[in-house]
Structure formats: structure tokens, C-alpha cells
């Protein structure tokens, strides 16, 4: 393959180095302020009454006893929320009907999931608030519930929203249904494609609901003033998005609401929707005092937005040389209690990494009596690619092909069309596969002991662009500040400082990055979609460039020459004819007052040439046939990272995503009883990998710069959660001969699968 050259690549002075992160000391000393740290002398504490039923009509709601309890200053229910129009709006994370927004915050006539908020109380301390909630009288008419997406699609399933019909683009079907969205892509001639195949696989896969597992629960504090201005402190991935949602639910102007993002202890997509903020605002308005709400761990699991369960039926055809001829996909994604469109993202992902000339993809979003799902790191891609990558591995085994070679044969390159018709731009899929094939891990002898094996798999994420703003201020001594609207959930503020420093010819330590709020910086979309270093970094670059451009005439004044003779190159202002010694930003800055005053650059961008990112994982494992436990002996993740602005944080993203994917593959799931109640609502029983579980993970960064960014940035944060599901599935299959197509591959499931294979009795397990 021809190496790709980006004009600036390899010439950086700051990009690619590893300065200590600017927020590091505060984070490791406990000085950093998180949502729960917000405090006021007259602060009230909120507590939420939540439905104990998965599906119930609310016949009666009486809060009078709660209101009368000493120490209680406010109680709020759905009657305090304005009725919102039946209108579909773009939410920044897909589309949603705003009439459901208020019902999601506080149930009006129906409780649709266990944990659905019914009322909220503010009191002088959390225990009085909790006591008051227990005094609220609710009369429920319990209804039949459904928690599996395929059962919810069936005729006769209990309907969550009796009047809702399936939305297909701009059309609505006539018949009420729990199917809220249907996406279809079609290309070529499916029948002809399968007719060409020498080998066809027809398989069904199932993944369970999982949670993002952020350690910090949701928090919100609101202070409402008598003039209608409201300030909200929130653990959020996007203060502007939080403000929009609060304004939409409460029908307020955006200018009336200020959202200050606190440091965030994990989000992964789960802290984009609002849950507590509108409640905090209502309680503050009613009480006249600031109000704080913090979710418990059980509330986080039951009442925030997990990642959807999914069922997929996949059929793939191959020629005997491994060429994919056709693909047929049917998938149903759990939507939770309110409509969403994550299935459409799955439809875009499922066959995208490969050239599939003939394909039909049908994906459904299905309402269930479970919390409304939210984004989780490459949302919908893990569920979609799990099955495809399993079949790719089966095909490699059946055809006697190296699994990486099979993917190299079919892997998409620039110019290839996806099933939705769009063409790939410059991507690094083949380079990443090559790097994996040539890695020390892959080249080493595979494990050969009993029940040991090696396997590989891939993942990818499109990445997003969206809107970002930044300002770069030149201090009087030539150091700089950079203010952005992007919450830092993975080290991005260090990357902003690095990109500003690279542009200005400064060191990273000479640039101070700041995360602004909704009143201190221009509109910026959420920190999500692996877009922050790309899009906000683009804004930082443009703002820094603007600052330099404003300084050129100042230098011209100092040199008494035309501004056209002043250029900024290689970290300094230089005279075109060499008549003056170069001047750095630090040398020019003290002269700014005498040449026209302070200088600041500003930029708001919406960059479009987003670069997708691919990852390839290699895992060596051992399966204990007695216990079903899978031990990871060695793990490598290879990813196309564009340009690694701060390599340590890129490695951190690669490792973090991989560990989450390992948990998804081997242990994590919502376990529900027959009433739809989640019974493992704590980290003891909802088993995320801890530091003791996670293997050492070797990271290999492949840099294929994105031509759409001045520094070649490609988003990296999400892709690596995708491959572990199928990598570990493939490894277990190669070690044991059994393909477990039902996640997670937890010890009881592995035990059961092995027992079924050998037809020997096993102890009863779930």
C-alpha cells in the first residue's frame, strides 16, 4: 500500500508529545470539583419517587402528606411540566418526539419502566427528602409488561404508547405498534448474490442490555432566581445540549438557562440525556433555594439510559476464495420506554467495513418496558458487528483462510460504496489489518495448551463532526489561553492545548486550556461521537490561526513594513526578505498594547470531513471447562488513530474501550426477574471488569492522517469497544469448538454451552 502523506505529518514539535495533563494534579489530589461537590449554605436536597412497576397506569397521585412534612420545601409532579407539542426534533443524538420528553422526566398518566420518575421532593437534608417521598400516595393499575424486543414486536404484545405507530422516514404506519422505527438499506440483487456464493451462513445472535458503567452517578444542582434566570451545575457530556433539553422540557428561552459542566467521572454517551436537571430547576423555582439531586447506583442502572439489547439474524454468502457475495440482515434493537432511532445507526454499521455488492438490511427500534436506551461508545455498532465478525471467523475456518487475510480481501477502501450508498473517504482499515498481521503478537506462536486459542476480529466507528467553538487569547507575556465548550471526558483539554501550542509555536505548558460553560463560549455540541479532538480541535486551530493573523499587522508596525512581508512559519513571525530577526509570539505579545491592544482569536466550526476509525483485536485465551471462566492470556488492539495528538490519551482510549468491550463480552448484562425488575443493580453483581480482571493490553497505533483536519485528526475514543465482543467469541469458539451466539459469554453460559456440546449434566444455572 502507498503510504499516505499529510502535509504536516512528521514535522510537529508539540503534537505527538506527552505533556502532563493540565487537570492532572487536581484530579489525583481530589481537588477537582464534580457535580456532587456543588454546595450552598441554603442548599436543599432532592429525592425522586420512582415507579416500582414496569408498566402501570397512574390512577391517583397525592403528595399532600409529603408537602406537610417538616423540612420539605417543594414537591413536583408532571402537572408542573408544560405540555409539549407532538413534534419530532433533531436531538443532536438522532431524533425524538418532544412530547415524550416531559413524560420521560416525570410520568404523567403511565409508568413505563421500573424507576420511571413519578414525583420529586426537595428538603433540608437527603433523609427528610427520602422520608417525604415515602409519604407520597400513588395508586397504580398494573399492566402487562414486555422487556424483550422481539417479544415486544409480536402481535398482541402490550403496547406502551397506544397511539404510536411505526415511523418510516416521514410516513407513519396505520397500525399502533411497539415498533417505533424501521430502517432499510438495499443494494444490488440479493438473490443473485446468494446464488453466486459457494458458502452461505445463516445465523442468529443476541446481546443483552448493558450499562456504560460510569463510576460517577448523575448529579444536577439548580439555582433559580426570581427574575427567571436559572443556573444548573451538571455532570454532563454537553452543557449546550443539557441547556437545550431543559429549555425544551420547561419551555424556556435558552438565554434564561446557564449550564455549568462540572468535571465528569465517566459518561461514554450515557450523560447526554437529562434526567435530573429539569427536576432540580422545578424544585428550585418552587422552593426559592438551590436544590441538588444525585442518583443512587441503583437509580443509575434502572433510570438512566443503558445500551440496547439486540437480536440479529444474519445471512452472509462467500465464494470459495473468501469474497463476500451477499448479505441479508434483520435486527431489532431495544428502544426502551420511549421512541429512539439507534437501530438506524446499527443499519449503517452492520455491513459497512466490507464490500458487499448485494445486500438487504432491515433494522427495527422496538419499545420495551425498560429505561429509554442511550448512547454507549460507538452506539449500535457492537451489537451489529458482533454477528458479522462471528460469521467472518466461521468463514475463515471453513475456507481454510487466515482470518486477517479474509478481511483484507473484503475490506473497504476509499471510494468503495457502503450499503447505504455513501462512498468511503480516506480510511485506514487495510493499514490497520496489515499492522495487526505484522504485530509481534500475531506473529508469535498461538497458544497451544488445552482449551486455548487465538482469534481476531475488527471494529470501527464512523465518528462525528458537528458544531464546536473555541477562543484563543494571547496573554500579555505571550502565553495563551484556549477556551472551548467541550467537556473533557478523556483528556481532550490537553489535546486542545497541544494543538493551540503547535499552531502558535508555544509549548503545551505555555497554553492554559479551559472548559467553558454556556455563557462563556459559543455553541458547542456534545463531547461524544469521538468528535472532540477533531471538531473542537479544528476550532482551536482556526482560532489560533486567527490570533496569529491579527498579530501580523502588529509585527508589521514593529518592523515598519507592509503586512504582506510578514509571515508566521516554523513557530515565529518572519520577514519575507529576511530583513528582521524572527519574533516569537512571546516576543510580540508584550508589544501588543502599543500596537493596537489585546489579541484574541475566535472560531465556530462545523467540519465535515470526518475520518472513520478502524480497530483490529487479537486475543489469546484459555477456557476453564469446569467453571466456564475465560482467562485472557494476551490481548492486542491495533487502531487507526489518524494523528495521535497526545499518544498517552489515545492509548488510554484504546485500552478503556477494550476493557469495556471485554466486560460486555464476558460478564455484563441486565438480569431481570419475571416482573421486569433488574436484580443486579450494583457493581458487585453487575460485573464490570476491575483492574484485577483486565489483562495487560498492548496498543499499536497506526497513523493514517485524516485529510479533513489540519493536523490529520481522526476520532479514536469509541471504536475499540466494538471488537472484543467478537474477538473473544471467536477465541472461545476456536478453543472449544462451540460458538456462543448469546452474550454475555459468562461462566454459566460457557459451562452450559460446553455441557450441551458434550451432553453431560451440569448444575442448574441462569
Amino acid at each position: 500500500m502507498e503510504p499516505f502523506s499529510h502535509p504536516n505529518h512528521g514535522k510537529y514539535k508539540v503534537i505527538g508529545t506527552r505533556p502532563i495533563r493540565h487537570d492532572g494534579e487536581d484530579k489525583v489530589t481530589g481537588r477537582a470539583l464534580y457535580g456532587a461537590d456543588v454546595s450552598f449554605p441554603d442548599l436543599l436536597h432532592g429525592f425522586v419517587l420512582r415507579s416500582p412497576h414496569a408498566h402501570a397506569r397512574i390512577r391517583k397521585l397525592d403528595t399532600s402528606k409529603a408537602e406537610a412534612l417538616p423540612g420539605v420545601f417543594a414537591v413536583t409532579t408532571a402537572v408542573d411540566l408544560p405540555r409539549l407539542d407532538d413534534k419530532i426534533v433533531s436531538s443532536g443524538e438522532g431524533m425524538e418526539n418532544q412530547k415524550y420528553l416531559s413524560d420521560h422526566i416525570l410520568a404523567s398518566d403511565k409508568a413505563l419502566f421500573i424507576g420511571h420518575p413519578i414525583a420529586a421532593v426537595a428538603a433540608t437534608d437527603p433523609w427528610i427528602a427520602q422520608e417525604a417521598v415515602a409519604l407520597i400516595e400513588v395508586e397504580y393499575e398494573v399492566l402487562d409488561q414486555v422487556t424483550d424486543p422481539d417479544k415486544a414486536m409480536a402481535d398482541g404484545a402490550p403496547l406502551l404508547h397506544e397511539k404510536m405507530t411505526t415511523t418510516i422516514l416521514g410516513q407513519k404506519e396505520a397500525k399502533p405498534s411497539n415498533i417505533c422505527n424501521h430502517t432499510r438499506f438495499e443494494c444490488g440483487d440479493l438473490e443473485a448474490g446468494f446464488a453466486e456464493a459457494d458458502l452461505v451462513f445463516d445465523r442468529e445472535f443476541r446481546t443483552r442490555t448493558v450499562h456504560q458503567g460510569y463510576v460517577e452517578p448523575h448529579t444536577a444542582t439548580a439555582l433559580a432566581r426570581s427574575d427567571g434566570q436559572v443556573t444548573v451545575w451538571s455532570s454532563t457530556q454537553g452543557p449546550f445540549r443539557t441547556r437545550e433539553q431543559v429549555a425544551a422540557v420547561l419551555k424556556r428561552d435558552l438565554s434564561k438557562i446557564r449550564v455549568i459542566p462540572m468535571e465528569i467521572g465517566g459518561g461514554f454517551g450515557g450523560k447526554i440525556p437529562v434526567y435530573l436537571e429539569p427536576l432540580a430547576v422545578l424544585l428550585s423555582e418552587k422552593s426559592g433555594r438551590p436544590v441538588k439531586l444525585v442518583m443512587s447506583r441503583a437509580d443509575v442502572f434502572q433510570a438512566s439510559g443503558p445500551a440496547p439489547a439486540a437480536v440479529s439474524k444474519l445471512k452472509l454468502g462467500f465464494k470459495s476464495d473468501g469474497t463476500i457475495t451477499a448479505g441479508k440482515v434483520w435486527m431489532a434493537y431495544e428502544a426502551g420506554a420511549f421512541p429512539g432511532t439507534w437501530g438506524s445507526t446499527g443499519a449503517l454499521c452492520v455491513l459497512a467495513p466490507y464490500r458487499v455488492p448485494h445486500a438487504l438490511v432491515d433494522v427495527y427500534d422496538v419499545l420495551t418496558n425498560t429505561p429509554k436506551v442511550a448512547a454507549y461508545r460507538a452506539p449500535s455498532s457492537p451489537q451489529a458487528l458482533f454477528g458479522v465478525e462471528s460469521i467472518m471467523d466461521e468463514a475463515a475456518q471453513e475456507l481454510g483462510l487466515d482470518p486477517i487475510d479474509l478481511r483484507l480481501k473484503n475490506g473497504a477502501v476509499e471510494g468503495d460504496s457502503r450499503v447505504d450508498g455513501q462512498k468511503w473517504s480516506r480510511i485506514g482499515f487495510l493499514e490497520t489489518l496489515d499492522a495487526a498481521k505484522n504485530s509481534p503478537h500475531y506473529k508469535s506462536p498461538p497458544p497451544s495448551g488445552p482449551n486455548q486459542a487465538r482469534a481476531t476480529s475488527i471494529g470501527y466507528w464512523f465518528n462525528a463532526g458537528m458544531q464546536s467553538s473555541a477562543t484563543v487569547g494571547i496573554n500579555m507575556d505571550g502565553t495563551a489561553s484556549v477556551v472551548t465548550g467541550s467537556v473533557d471526558i478523556g483528556g481532550s483539554r490537553a489535546s486542545m492545548a497541544i494543538m493551540a501550542a503547535e499552531t502558535l509555536g508555544l509549548s503545551a505548558e505555555e497554553v492554559r486550556p479551559v472548559v467553558g460553560d454556556t455563557e462563556s463560549i459559543g455553541h458547542t455540541d456534545v463531547t461524544a461521537g469521538s468528535r472532540t479532538t477533531f471538531a473542537t480541535g479544528y476550532a482551536v486551530y482556526m482560532a489560533a490561526t486567527e490570533a496569529l493573523e491579527k498579530m501580523r499587522p502588529r509585527v508589521a508596525k514593529l518592523w515598519d513594513c507592509p503586512v504582506e512581508e510578514v509571515n508566521f512559519e516554523e513557530g515565529a513571525f518572519r520577514h519575507a526578505k529576511g530583513k528582521h530577526d524572527p519574533m516569537t509570539v512571546r516576543e510580540v505579545a508584550p508589544k501588543l498594547p502599543m500596537t493596537g491592544g489585546p489579541v484574541q482569536g475566535q472560531s465556530s466550526v462545523q467540519p465535515k470531513q470526518v475520518g472513520a476509525s478502524f480497530a483490529v483485536d487479537i486475543a489469546d485465551i484459555e477456557v476453564d471447562p469446569e467453571t466456564g471462566k475465560v482467562t485472557i492470556l494476551r490481548y492486542t488492539v491495533v487502531q487507526d488513530v489518524g494523528t495521535a495528538i497526545h499518544p498517552a490519551y489515545v492509548e488510554g482510549q484504546m485500552i478503556g474501550g477494550t476493557v469495556q468491550g471485554i466486560g460486555w463480552a464476558l460478564n455484563e448484562e441486565y438480569v431481570r426477574d419475571e416482573e421486569g425488575r433488574m436484580i443486579n443493580t450494583g457493581f458487585l453483581d453487575y460485573r464490570v471488569p476491575t483492574a484485577l480482571d483486565a489483562p495487560d493490553i498492548e496498543t499499536i497505533m497506526v497513523e493514517v492522517p485524516n485529510p479533513g483536519h489540519p493536523y490529520g485528526v481522526r476520532g479514536v475514543g469509541e471504536t475499540t469497544v466494538v471488537p472484543p465482543l467478537s474477538t473473544l467469541h471467536n477465541a472461545i469458539a476456536r478453543a472449544t469448538g462451540v460458538r456462543i451466539r448469546n452474550l454475555p459469554m459468562s461462566p454459566p453460559r460457557v459451562q452450559a454451552a460446553l455441557a450441551e456440546q458434550t451432553a453431560r449434566p451440569v448444575p442448574a444455572s441462569d
Binding site: G92, Q171, E186, A375
Partner: protein
Amino acid sequence: MATVHVPALLRHLTGGAESLHLTLPAGERITLRALLERLSADHPGLMDGLLYQGDLMPGIAVIVDNDQSLMGLLTKVEDSSEIRFVPPIVGG
């Protein structure tokens, strides 16, 4: 000819046609709305399938010549334009 690739779920409105074409005079640029209106004359319901309350359905991205347009139905197209409608990419 300007080409509109018909979303799979709307092909029942176009007799199964995967794409529709319209010749525009050289140099003429019209809005995507105008283009769809002209095409809908022969394929009733096509425009309605893409609209919600009079505007492009929220959550549908317009791709013109493999590049996302943020202007929705106001996007200007010309005789060589190739238009697709896809879900937008977001993330977590």
C-alpha cells in the same frame, strides 16, 4: 441528469426504482425541495415520505455528491448532483 437515490422504504412509491433522474439546464441550480417537487409530480407521495410537518424529516441527513449538506431542502443542486438521504451519525 440530477440523480436522487430513493430510500429503500420509499421505493414502493417509485415503482421499485432505486433512483430517479431529472435533467436540469446547464448552469441552473435549484433547491432540493424544488427538485423533489418536480420528481413527485410523476411519483406521488415521494415528497411526503421525506417530509415531516412541511420540512425534511429530522434525523435525515442529505448527502450531495458524497458530501453531507447541512442545508436540508435548501441545498442547491445542479444537473450533475447525486443526492442520497441517510440517518445521521452521532455517537457516545
